[in-house]
């Protein structure tokens, strides 16, 4: 899946915060999006998933032969098309157990009906097996209870997205708050899913080592504008990036 942006801008009270012009995300499998604080990275993520409405411009989701204009649709429809985002700040459903969180994300909305309430089979074997395998790979203190620490909640946020089997995944600072060994497991899983062609991934990160290590292509956003795109090698050498971001 690819995301095409045209003339995309966002202003708050006629104060412009984002002006990306023409850009395409998702052509290279696993891509990074970097930029200084306040560059508009999170705003861009919000625009792409329709959590925020753009001031001008359009976003088009290209899925093989199909093109979906995202402007007229609401955020849950974006997710139903296969475009999902993990959250930078910790988000969760405190009343649901870890398993119920994952069941909730994996369940299709067509099954959540009033008539379905009377069915005795509320458990889907396939989903349960998948949940079991995730909970084997990633350890929680109480896998049958609730996510307790901030790190567990953050991990659960990412697993919720994985289990939805998205075609395109946006990850907003996935490693902030995660222990190093968990970060590695998450990133290895992302890499294998990208490699098998299941999904394309865009990672927003401040941890540049991680970007250089995993991403095959990097976008540089500064002061609301896309200033540079290229391979990690090109980006590292680029003068603009060095000046504006890496403080050289």
């Amino acid at each position: 899946m690819k995301l095409h942006m045209r003339n995309l801008t966002k202003s708050y009270h006629s104060h412009p915060v984002l002006n990306v012009g023409e850009a395409t995300l998702g052509e290279h499998g696993l891509e990074g999006l970097i930029g200084p604080n306040g560059a508009g990275k999170s705003t861009l993520m919000g625009l792409l998933t329709r959590r925020i409405a753009p001031t001008t411009g359009t976003v088009v989701l290209e899925d093989g032969e199909m093109n979906h204009a995202l402007n007229p649709i609401r955020s849950h429809q974006v997710a139903q098309l296969g475009l999902v985002k993990t959250n930078q700040r910790i988000q969760g459903f405190p009343s649901l157990t870890i398993r119920d969180n994952l069941r909730f994300a994996a369940t299709s909305h067509a099954q959540e009906t009033y008539r379905g309430v009377m069915d005795d089979a509320q458990i889907d074997e396939e989903i349960e097996a998948e949940i079991d395998s995730y909970l084997e790979t990633f350890t929680f203190a109480e896998p049958d209870g609730f996510a307790n620490s901030g790190g567990e909640k953050k991990l659960l946020d990412i697993l919720r997205c994985f289990i939805m089997k998205p075609r395109m995944l946006l990850m907003d600072e996935p490693t902030a708050g995660l222990p190093d060994d968990v970060t590695k497991k998450v990133m290895d899983l992302v890499k294998s899913k990208v490699k098998s062609g299941d999904m394309t991934v865009i990672i927003v990160e401040h941890d540049l080592e991680l970007i250089w290590k995993y991403c095959s292509y990097v976008h540089f956003l500064s002061e609301g504008e896309m200033l540079f795109h290229g391979t990690p090698k090109d980006v590292k050498k680029n003068r603009v990036v060095a000046e504006k971001y890496m403080g050289v």
Partner: protein
């Protein structure tokens, strides 16, 4: 006896209202403070259709359900995107509108004069009230059964997730607005149906039946019983309405001059209870994690024991009073 059947029927109506509010607020987080508006609208609609238009009870109930669904759907569309405080105010405004229209639209409602008499739906002389009570009982048990199932279902999980974090649920592909709208429409329409069922119970309708204290009584029941628990609404109504309106009003030996104060004492205590619960135990008597089966068992045993105790107490009391009367008669005789 007739009065007890009437009170018990009313108790069931209250349980039904609290169950609907449980789905709205406990599961979905919609603070509907206009319960009496939906109930009152349903009650008046059925009353008007029966008395003014001479429709049969069944026809009136069906039309009433459609009317209430349409009104709730329209109102839901207007308010369900708003933040919770705004929903609360808008639903209060809705119930105030219903109460005012019951006064102003005299050509339909007869205004403060009152509308009546509404016939009993089951026309078998002598046992019609009991039949109606049994009908209500089956209805409420059915609803309770469905709610218990709902808590363990995919739909229930979706509702709880929507209450916990609506934006996150939407980002996972769930149409949260639709979930809220349909649930609000259905549950509010059922509140209206319960209102329609209250019309033959009350027989004679006046606008001062549509008072905020009914909304309030339903809320205190829900919050006291446990707003997030499948059985909280039922337990709450037993403790509030069952205790005050049935046990005390029917059995407590209250002198007539004090009896007029009972409703005020009741509302005062309701208020105090609500404050106490919210400050000291916000989850209510039953917290979300109390297993339902245990509650059903305990509750069933408790009700049974209570009923036996009351029966014994009453027979004993009656015997004592009779003894005294006979004693006095004898004394007077000699």
């Amino acid at each position: 006896m007739a009065y007890l059947i009437f009170s018990l029927s009313l108790l069931l109506i209250y349980i039904g209202l609290a169950q609907m509010l449980h789905v709205q607020f406990g599961l979905l987080g919609i603070p509907n403070f206009g319960v009496v508006g939906f109930w009152g609208l349903g009650m008046y609609a059925v009353g008007i259709m029966q008395v003014q238009l001479d429709m049969s009870f069944v026809d009136a109930m069906v039309l009433n359900a459609l009317l209430l669904a349409a009104v709730s759907y329209g109102l839901g569309h207007l308010i369900l995107r708003l933040e919770r405080q705004a929903i609360l105010c808008a639903t209060i405004a809705f119930s105030a509108i219903v109460a005012l229209l019951a006064v102003t639209e005299k050509w339909m409602t007869m205004g403060v004069v009152g509308l009546g008499t509404i016939r009993q739906p089951f026309r078998i002389f002598g046992i019609e009230e009991i039949l109606f009570f049994i009908f209500l009982l089956i209805l409420i048990i059915g609803i309770q059964f469905y709610i218990l199932k709902l808590h363990k279902s995919r739909l229930g999980r979706l509702m709880i997730a929507t209450r916990d974090n609506e934006e996150l649920a939407a980002s996972l592909g769930k149409d949260t607005f639709r979930v809220k709208l349909i649930a609000f429409t259905l549950t509010s329409a059922i509140m209206g149906i319960l209102g329609g069922l209250s019309a033959p119970l009350n027989q004679f309708l006046t606008p001062n039946m549509i008072v905020p204290s009914i909304t309030f009584a339903v809320w205190i029941s829900l919050v006291l019983g446990g707003k997030e628990h499948a059985l909280g609404s039922m337990l709450g109504v037993f403790v509030t309405f069952g205790l005050f309106d049935i046990l005390i009003e029917t059995y407590a030996p209250v002198s007539p001059e004090f009896a007029v104060l009972v409703p005020n004492v009741k509302l005062f205590l309701y208020g105090a209870l609500l404050v106490g619960v919210l400050v000291f135990r916000p989850s209510g008597l039953l917290d979300q994690r109390t297993p339902s089966d245990a509650v059903v068992g305990t509750l069933g045993r408790g009700v049974l024991k209570g009923a036996v105790a009351i029966h014994q107490g009453v027979t004993k009391g009656v015997a004592t009073v009779q003894g005294k009367i006979e004693h006095r008669k004898k004394g007077g005789g000699t």
